[in-house]
Subunit: 255 residues, 2 copies
DNA sequence: AGGATCAAAGGTATCAGATACCTCGGGAGG
DNA sequence: CCTCCCGAGGTATCTGATACCTTTGATCCT
């Protein structure tokens, strides 16, 4: 068990100590939107130079706890999913298996999102999902091919937006933010998968139909079916990624 | 869709720009364990003062990408789950519903862990789980009550270790690190739940039995049963948390 | 009076130079 | 061959100063 509790302190340096102390204050007492005392003020309180305070503040900004802007005091920021992105990005880029680990977890979380969205989505949530789906339709039209690259990019953006809308409609903030954290790393996976997709003869209409099924189940409030529809859809995606990667391993076309 | 892609840049300050650039370098080319050039060197390359470099480095250290230690160069660090902890902590503390959102996601992830552990756990993974369970047994003995506070703390630590071991045995690094990220915030929940637990007449032996069932299913390789055993166990926990919170709302005993 | 303009105050961002202290490797001494 | 010590390289922090941004309130014009 290597769970070090709370101490993120690198090595007991003054800056780290101040940062830890401020983190407690921020997480415990300050609400997002409030601002910290001025650097000079803090320097006085902790009996260190302004420089040390600045470094502590930068440390916290890196953790996503503070938002800095020139000429104004540091503002407490509501942490969000982006904090986890670095880890996932690093994982996907360094560990060959990493992408599949991520996809596996994503499957689980998106099924959960679908289930909860079916149970709890309100009118606005449903509409957001519908809009995303409509956006996918508008991007591609009736043709099995994309008109141009812009249309294809738009299609993917709406596809992504669909999944995001489902996560948000679940009403579970952790799900929403986890999804956000996975966004960038998954985009790399998405990009790869789309190539495999085309190879297997899937059309954008197939993808749209899969999303439509998910939406229908959510609208009906059938959580179990929604999860299943999501599972089928994502399993397809996963298989495509696998195929694309295998193919890439055979004929490496590195940039 | 507010997914800003990659730009974490606060406001185009020099330090942020350097940090972003270094982040690309770290995530793209440097392996964990390697070290950055010296501050003076970097200051030269980017044509900024050493201070600016220091602030950029602190920013990255806050993101968990670098490990700093006095007298040595900054070392590239493998990001881990701790990056997500701040968000969850903030959520649990500020949003009354946050804890339940977290518990809900945790249920999903731990069921996934159990499933995967049943399918893929190797010998070492199983042993780690067994050890945690044995630790729970040793902490409490045959009595329905704990000998002292230390015994109780030890019991909880092993309980926690059990779940961690299952997550690790899943072989999915994302699951492992997500679990790690949830550790501290969940501990708060754990703490609360334990009070409800006692109220409902659950004994430590009940808890041990629940864990034993999970372990058995994993050992048998029965993923579905393992997930179900995990679900039952965690649902109990969740219910206890709910009860404890309701009770607390009625007679607030704040410190 | 009401609104636009501008200057000062308060802040942050960055620079330069200097000191304290830590780490590591190599060489002197045993 | 091992140990101890020292110097080189590095980071941590301090002081003092400058540049530039934001906010605000006083001033001035209409």
């Amino acid at each position: 068990m290597s769970l070090s509790g709370d101490a993120r302190s690198d090595h007991g340096s003054a800056a780290s100590a101040v940062a830890d102390d401020l983190a407690q204050l921020i997480l415990g007492e300050l609400a997002p939107g409030q601002s910290l005392p001025s650097e000079a003020d803090l320097a006085g309180r902790y009996s260190v130079s302004r420089l040390t305070i600045r470094e502590a503040v930068k440390l916290l900004a890196g953790r996503g706890l503070l938002e800095l802007s020139r000429g104004r005091r540091a503002m407490v920021r509501e942490p969000d999913g982006s904090a986890f992105t670095d880890f996932l990005t690093s994982l996907v880029r360094t560990d060959p298996k990493g992408l599949f680990d991520l996809v596996e977890v994503r499957l689980s979380l998106e099924m959960q999102s679908a289930t909860m969205a079916a149970k709890r989505a309100n009118r606005a949530g449903i509409i957001a999902i519908e809009n995303a789906l409509q956006g996918m339709r508008d991007s591609v039209g009736d043709s099995p091919d994309f008109a141009d690259e812009a249309a294809e990019a738009s299609f993917h953006a709406f596809d992504f937006g669909f999944h995001e809308a489902v996560a948000l409609a679940s009403g579970n903030r952790v799900l929403g933010y986890l999804f956000e954290a996975m966004a960038v790393p998954l985009r790399e996976g998405f990009f790869i998968s789309q190539r495999g997709h085309a190879d297997r003869g899937h059309t954008p209409q197939d993808t749209i139909a899969a999303h439509q099924r998910i939406l229908d189940c959510i609208r009906e409030g059938n959580g179990r079916a929604a999860a299943e529809a999501m599972r089928i859809h994502l399993r397809d995606t996963e298989r495509d990624i696998r195929m694309a990667l295998t193919k890439m391993a055979q004929s490496p076309a590195r940039s």
